[in-house]
């Protein structure tokens, strides 16, 4: 029988409190997106889909949404291609500066995004690339490289190396080995980190803030709208973003945690 002491009960209490704390604000956002009132206050005024209609009719917001989707798509593709190649090289070879390289690509993940944004802005200014969505794509792909490399390397470390040797002994070219042996065993890690990259790029603010030009992404559009004041439209688009992100992230975490079956 599990008996808890007072301090253990306290810990359980705090835990349930923290879980509520994590989800209550998101629930609020969803509730108020259906609330028939311009202010976000209780008691609720009644059910409406008006705010969803409003954002679907907002051409600027939809344009920003499309921009965000394109940016996230291209940034993810670049990150995956470069990240997987880097992970393969790091997993297979020992070379001087290997640790340093690994630490450098992880840096943008623990460094406040604003510093990375400023560094890239300075660089683009020096070489004459104008602030634009292309600049944002390159920025995101670079900053998110660490996500792909760390996840794919973790998976590669679990693979039995004999498989590669066997494949080579049987006369497969390195590309054939990659295509038929390596790729199938890292597929879920690649897919999982791609989904994570996509969501992170779609929601990214600090780097985008410095690199974007006249065309803006959805988070930047929302951010600049919020500085002027709250509109319930934001609750509606916010609910959609949260819902989609949730699905993508749950999928990604499931794929990344999947153990290799061999």
């Amino acid at each position: 029988m599990l008996r808890l002491r007072w301090w253990q009960k306290g810990m359980v209490g705090v835990s349930l409190g923290v879980l509520t704390f994590l989800y209550l604000p998101i629930v609020m956002l969803v509730i108020f997106s259906f609330n028939d009132s311009k202010v976000t206050s209780f008691p609720l005024a009644g059910f409406t889909l008006h705010w969803y209609e409003a954002f679907l009719a907002n051409a600027q917001m939809l344009r920003a949404l499309a921009n965000s989707l394109w940016v996230a798509l291209f940034a993810t593709a670049l990150s995956v291609v470069i990240g997987v190649t880097a992970a393969l090289a790091l997993d297979r070879y020992d070379f001087p500066g290997k640790r340093l390289f690994q630490n450098v690509i992880l840096l943008p993940l623990s460094l406040p995004g604003i510093v990375t944004g400023i560094a890239m802005l300075n660089f683009y200014k020096q070489i004459g690339i104008p602030q634009s969505l292309t600049a944002v794509v390159i920025g995101h792909a670079t900053a998110l490289l660490g996500v792909v490399v760390s996840q794919v390397m973790a998976r590669l470390a679990k693979i039995n190396r004999r498989q590669f040797e066997a494949s080579a002994d049987l006369g497969a070219t390195p590309f054939e080995t990659f295509r038929h042996v390596t790729l199938p065993s890292i597929r879920s890690a690649v897919l999982g980190s791609a989904l994570l990259c996509f969501t992170l790029s779609f929601d990214e603010i600090p780097v985008t803030y410095f690199l974007t030009g006249r065309e803006v992404t959805l988070p930047i559009y929302i951010y600049s709208t919020l500085r002027r004041g709250i509109t319930p439209e934001i609750n509606a688009i916010g609910t959609v973003i949260v819902a989609v992100s949730f699905v993508l992230i749950v999928l990604s975490v499931t794929l990344l945690r999947e153990r290799e079956r061999s």
């Binding site: 976000t40 070879y93 623990s110 670079t142 992170l200 919020l226 949260v242 992230i249």
Partner: protein
């Protein structure tokens, strides 16, 4: 594999693109930022130079030092609060929940919000704490207060609450990992020796979890130190943080050299903390 004449071509084929990409698009930009920090500004242009004027200005002008100290204070508060909330949660997940399935589900539900739109999670506190917001209307409708209060939003407390909310999962993640890795036989041994659960926690579990505490605290501190969204959305007139100063230098104030110097200071602080934390982590690790 170590590199030999035979393995080098394969290595070069794989590694040259990532290396070139990272050098050109990540290392060079950080280096340029550090360099621009030494430049001079003659409004509205900047000139290459090597002088420490920007750093001297940041460290001498109270306008900057106040903000830096305030940011350190807020980041420290956020870290402590996140630890106080995150530790019990991680402990609960690892030691109280018996079913592996339930534990994984709960752990996932703590981690998932971390990756869900950071902007929207900060924004929700604006609709909760505002004068017309959810909290006020709830207080008024239950009769606890007679008129909406404006004390909740636009101050440092609101910023700390929002940042703790955003970063608490970062604290839980490493704590969960270290606690989950503590061999159960150690706890059984402690129990068999007649040690009570509280002393077992204090003498066995807590020391073994210090690596996770350090890792989580470093992450939380570094990221909340450089946040600029929460101050803009829920911070008040006295809520300016370092990141907002940076925004201004690259916007209205148009002083890139000073901004780059300030960003370099943030970079240095983060690097030092990461270095310290990886050392502490190694020192605190006990081989079992």
């Amino acid at each position: 594999m170590t590199l030999t004449r035979r393995t080098f071509p394969g290595f070069a084929a794989l590694f040259s693109l990532p290396l070139a990409w990272v050098l050109l698009l990540m290392v060079v930009p950080y280096a340029i930022m550090v360099a621009v920090g030494f430049w001079t500004r003659q409004f509205p242009l900047f000139y290459p130079d090597f002088q420490f004027g920007n750093y001297a200005q940041i460290l001498a002008d109270p306008q900057y030092t106040t903000v830096i100290l305030r940011t350190l204070k807020i980041a420290a508060l956020v870290t402590v609060c996140a630890l106080l909330l995150g530790y019990p949660l991680a402990y609960f997940l690892v030691f109280t929940i018996r079913s592996q399935k339930v534990r994984n589900l709960l752990y996932m539900s703590v981690i998932v919000p971390l990756w869900v739109s950071y902007l929207l999670r900060a924004y929700t506190w604006k609709i909760i704490l505002g004068t017309d917001g959810a909290l006020n209307s709830l207080l008024v409708s239950t009769g606890l207060v007679s008129a909406p209060l404006d004390i909740f939003l636009y101050n440092q407390t609101a910023m700390v609450v929002t940042l703790v909310y955003i970063f608490v999962p970062f604290m839980v993640m490493p704590l969960f990992t270290v606690l989950d890795n503590i061999p159960r036989r150690l706890l059984e041994a402690s129990e068999d020796l007649g040690v009570g659960p509280f002393m077992t926690f204090w003498k066995v579990i807590f020391p073994l979890s210090l690596g996770g505490v350090v890792a989580g605290a470093t992450m939380t501190f570094c990221l909340s130190f450089g946040d600029f969204v929460a101050p803009v959305l829920v911070g008040g007139p006295d809520g300016t943080m370092v990141a907002n100063l940076l925004q201004t230098q690259f916007g209205a104030a148009l002083n890139w050299p000073l901004g780059s110097a300030l960003a370099t200071l943030v970079l240095a602080l983060v690097l030092i903390l990461l270095q310290l934390s990886s050392r502490l982590d190694r020192a605190g690790r006990i081989d079992l």
